[in-house]
Point group: C2
Chain length 199, copies 2
DNA sequence: GTCTATATTACGATAGAC
DNA sequence: GTCTATCGTAATATAGAC
């Protein structure tokens, strides 16, 4: 395949740089000047690769959404008891979030000012809705505490999962898959079993 | 005291309008033009009340931080077993977050591009650190599951709590105190006891 | 593919009249 | 306290040379 070293940009490699800057400064707080400095090429050179700032945003959130929706198609998400499927989806969502960290981070910070942003928000809602349906089925099976409001539980669960983007940073030179798996386990454990010793 | 109706702005009443727009469009995505439209006065009139955009941000995040830090001074946060103090602080943090919703929302979205933003981030970290210390003490007492990493648990707990700003909207004409209390109960219950039926 | 130069618009903030 | 008019700067994006 291609070697890692590249001395000319493609839309893909440029995206890597752009998403990092977007996440540091915020999308609206990032100018094409900021991007050009970070990429080490001039502003006009960026326009040679992409149509503009919003295309970079669209590519980034698309990648994040594709990763998340793919989880819902995996065998573990469509077979078995609902409660097991929910746990599977939660675990895999954490893993995708960590693997595609910069892209998901950007997705979760979108506000809705442009058409692209509103489209992203809509697809996010659709994902959340599908997981909420799974939780509902698990509750109907009696596998979740009866006093839990499902809509609320879904939101708190995602709140916990999504908050990972606020602090997680990959460990240099570590086994990322193992790292992500452990973190996913911790999230699932806390969400479903709680923090307390003796319930 | 003063009547609710005001036909001229004060820094306080202007802040109410500004924070709402900031939360809808993002701070960086909000121009003085946007603010002037929302407030129904001209841009230059805004400068009569406040020094500029950043002062509005500073006032807003200060209010949020003051509310949060005040929780740590309450009797329930400084007396009793650590595990009870953690639960108390969690519950009260939720309540303050809901009572001061627009201000805390803005605080939680600050990126660090200006001096004001970096100051806000620093104070937030300090608050988180103090709660982490409480959790640590609760774990030392054996009141939290032994396999839980405290640093991680703190982050997930705050992730869950802070995510409320992403979807909670006050119910018009409802008893807000009761509403907030119920939500706080649900959050504490999920965090400490989990979602599952039979652990 | 990358550059310099520039068009054009939007932004934060100020001046000064009323 | 609010306005219109405007300044200076920084933004997105394009033109055209190399």
């Amino acid at each position: 395949m291609t070697t890692a070293r590249r001395d000319t940009y493609t839309p893909e490699t440029l995206l890597t740089v752009a998403v990092q800057v977007f996440n540091e400064r915020g999308y609206d707080g990032t100018s094409m000047e900021h991007l050009s400095k970070a990429a080490g090429i001039s502003k006009s050179s960026i326009y040679h690769h992409v149509a503009g700032k919003e295309e970079l945003l669209r590519r980034a959130v698309s990648r994040a959404l594709d990763g998340l929706f793919a989880v819902l198609e995996e065998p573990g998400a469509i077979r078995g008891r609902p409660v097991e499927r929910v746990e599977y989806v939660t675990r895999r969502t954490v893993e995708v979030l960590l693997t595609e960290l910069p892209y998901v981070t950007l997705l979760l910070r979108v506000r809705g000012n442009t058409r692209t942003e509103r489209w992203a928000l809509e697809r996010r809602r659709e994902f959340d809705h599908q997981v909420a349906d799974l939780l509902k089925a698990a509750a109907a099976d009696g596998d979740l505490r009866a006093d839990v409001d499902i809509r609320l539980a879904t939101r708190l669960l995602f709140g916990m999962v999504n908050s990972l983007v606020e602090w997680y940073r990959p460990h240099p030179g570590a086994d990322h898959d193992a790292d992500h798996g452990q973190l996913a386990d911790a999230v699932v454990h806390m969400a479903f079993d709680g923090l307390r010793t003796a319930p």
